[in-house]
Structure formats: structure tokens, C-alpha cells
Subunit: 226 residues, 2 copies
DNA sequence: ACCTGAACACCGTTCAAGT
DNA sequence: ACCTGAACACCGTTCAAGT
């Protein structure tokens, strides 16, 4: 009944972890975190829900593997600059963009704390921190500050994207709504949020993000000669 | 059949949003994010699952409300120091501790990006950033860097806690396992992660966290006189 | 007006039966 | 050895029926 090319055993290609993870990424990218289901996934792979468990331990393992694929690509693709600072900025931007395109990666990264995807990023950061000449006993704190900052911004930004997508509205509609809510706050209690509400729309998240990275980098070296 | 005190209408106290949120917090604290269910919750409140929807829009609304309660308390309880730096450190520590005690707060905060719980923290940060004399056009980037850093660390730390809890092991067992995994990585590709693996256990997360805050604060003012 | 709880449309995961 | 897909034990959410 179904059109089959030649005498392929049952499917075009046999089931594999890679094929499963790739299909999972497509589903996650398409309609957000909720649309990845063992039923939709197995349907897309032309198999039954149970078959997937032969290659993947459970749903959380699958999501982590999908996340690791994205992170590995982003890290590998990010340019190595002339200075450690430049390399760090490039890495940070690569992660920012990856999390923007794949809004589910941020929370997956946090859920898989300490596992491979996070270690990949930490390693790249740590090597640059060393190259910057940060003393041995301050390296961990420094690398971890940068890592956490990147994950924090990326995760939050992705949450915005996903929230906007879910509402059917686009990103700027979402920001408008947020700005409107913030400017309705009590002026006595929320002066800062109110004053900043207007800037929300105009600001470029990517620029703000880089400004934060620079802020941390600037704090790295106690000024000794500039 | 059930012991009733006097002629109370049906329950000790009538159902209210506050009572629902308080019970939700207890469930979330007890056995992690997965154990909050409209069935367990309604059972604990001696009512039916449907009754809850009279006071709460849906599960995500409920979790956000629970998160806001925790955040509001933490912010209100955090001391106002003599300098803006001191106040910022106190706020950051208060959030760190709150997320440590309530490991679900980190991800709830990220899921509710731009809503009340996050705005509370941002406002407190923003006021200190202003007090520090950061120029108007840099205030947003600065406050947002601090906010993101705090959320990033807290979220990650909480993920660790929750992961350790779920495995039945305690925190140090979990760190041991993580350190062991890291030291098994390829030395050529992961020199930093390997070298840092040994420090993982010994390090105090709270101290590292504060070091990161100081790092950012140090970057704030371009040195002009020390 | 508010609560009740069965019912609906889903989940992730398992496992006997098939090939 | 690997896949299949019905079955199990759950979910969040709704809504007619009760009080």
C-alpha cells in the first residue's frame, strides 16, 4: 500500500540513535518542547513508540542528546579569534544564536547540568580563561561566572522566544505586551522597571548580551597598566 | 465517617488562591517538580481536582504563583546594606539560598520570564545599579548581566540539587560521580574540565557564586582612582 | 456561586507477540 | 536481535451534575 523503493527491508534506513536524535531536533524546533512525543516521533520514523527505547534510555536522555548535538555544532563552528577575549566573545555569540534558533536548548542544558553538553562549553571557556593568565585558583570561579552568564541569558531569551511563539504573536508583540505590563507597575515600588520598560523594544538583545560579556571580562584583570 | 471539628461547612478553611499556592509549594519542596499534580494537590486540600481551576488558570499559572511567593519573601528578607554593592551581594545570596532550598524556583523563574517574580529581582538590582552611578544608557545592560548571572547559577545549582535528590544520593555523592566522569574525559580535548574535576568537591558553591558577583561588580566602574 | 468527580484526550514506558 | 503496538498507569483539563 505504501510506496516502497526497491526491496528495502522495512524502512529507507534502519533505526539508529543518530536518526532518532535528528528527528527529535526537528520536532523540538518545529513546535516547541511539548510537541516532542514518543508517538509523534515514532510516527515520523515510521515505527512504533517502543522501538525508540532500543536506542535511547528515556525522554530526558533523548532531549539531552539532542541538546548535545546542537551545542557540539555551535562550539565547533565558533571562530577562534586572535585573542582569548575574541574567542570568548565568538563562543558566547555562537551559543546565544544557537539558543535563539533552538529555544529548547537553554532549559535542556540546565536540566543536564554537569553532563556533556555543558562540559563542552565549560572546556572552551576554561581554555581561554587560562590563556588570559587568570591565576590557577581563580580559574574555576571565572569560567563558571562566564558559563552561568551565558546560560542565564540564553535560557531567558529562549523562554521569551518560546513564550512569544506559543502565543502565536511574534517577538515584538510579546515585547510590547511586556513593556505595557511593566509600565503599569506602581511607580513608587518599581521605578527602575518602569523606566526601563520603554527601552525594552528598542534594545538589541544580542548587543546587551555582548555588553555583559565585556563587563565580566573587564572585571577579570585588576588594572595594572592597561 | 471523617472526624469533623464542630459544624465547619465542609473544610477547615474555604478554598483560596493562597491556600492552594501554599500547598503547591509544600508539594514542590517535598518531592520535586514531578510530584505536583492536580490530583495530589486536591487530595491534600480535601477537594476535587476541578475545584482548583476556580482560583488558578492552569498548572503553569500555579507554579509561577508559587515561585513569586518564594521570590517575594526572599527579596523582602534580604538586608539592605550600607553600600549598593553590599545590598547587591545580600540580594544575590538571598536568591541563591532560596533557590537552594526550593530547587524548582530556578526553572520556574526562567519559564515565567518577564513576569512578576523576575521583575521583583530586576527592580531591586536596578535600583542598586542606579545608586552606583552607572550612566543611564548602561543601566539596563548592567542590571540584566547581574540578573542573568544570578538566574544562571541558581538554576544550575538547583538542577544539581534536584538531580542528586532524584538519584537518592546526597549532594556530595553526586559531585563525586560528576568529578569521576570529568576525569575520564580525553586529556587532549578536555584539559580544563579534567584539571578542574578535582576541585569540584572541595569548592563551596556559595563562595564561587559571590566571587562571580564581585567579578561583575569590579567590571562596573572603569578604574578612575580606585 | 461554588464544589465535585467522572470523563476526555492525552502522556511516557513496558512487554508479550511477532519477524 | 530487533521491531511492533496494544496495554498500563498515569497526566492536565473540562463540564454536567449536584449543593
Amino acid at each position: 500500500m505504501v510506496k516502497k523503493s526497491r526491496s528495502s527491508p522495512r524502512r529507507e534506513e534502519s533505526l539508529s540513535r543518530d536518526r532518532i536524535v535528528e528527528a527529535a531536533i526537528e520536532l523540538l524546533d518545529g513546535d516547541g518542547e511539548g510537541s516532542l512525543t514518543f508517538r509523534t516521533l515514532s510516527q515520523r520514523l515510521a515505527t512504533g513508540p517502543g522501538a525508540i527505547y532500543g536506542h535511547v534510555a528515556n525522554k530526558s536522555d533523548l532531549v539531552t542528546a539532542a541538546c548535545d548535538t546542537i551545542v557540539a555544532r555551535a562550539v565547533a563552528a565558533s571562530a577562534v579569534g586572535k585573542t582569548p577575549q575574541a574567542t570568548l566573545r565568538a563562543l558566547a555569540l555562537a551559543m546565544f544564536d544557537a539558543m535563539d534558533v533552538h529555544p529548547w536548548v537553554g532549559s535542556a542544558l540546565i536540566q543536564a547540568a554537569g553532563q556533556m553538553p555543558m562540559v563542552r562549553i565549560l572546556e572552551r571557556i576554561g581554555q581561554q580563561v587560562r590563556a588570559l593568565g587568570v591565576p590557577e585558583d581563580a580559574q574555576w570561579a571565572t569560567a563558571s561566572a562566564l558559563l552561568h552568564y551565558i546560560l542565564g541569558v540564553g535560557g531567558l531569551n529562549a523562554a521569551n522566544t518560546q513564550f512569544a511563539r506559543a502565543g502565536g504573536a511574534d517577538r515584538s508583540d510579546f515585547l510590547d505586551a511586556m513593556a505595557a505590563t511593566w509600565s503599569r507597575l506602581d511607580p513608587a515600588e518599581y521605578p527602575f522597571a518602569r523606566s526601563v520598560a520603554g527601552q525594552l523594544r528598542a534594545h538589541d538583545d544580542r548587543v546587551d548580551f555582548l555588553a555583559g560579556i565585556d563587563l565580566i571580562l573587564r572585571g577579570l584583570k585588576p588594572p595594572r597598566g592597561r
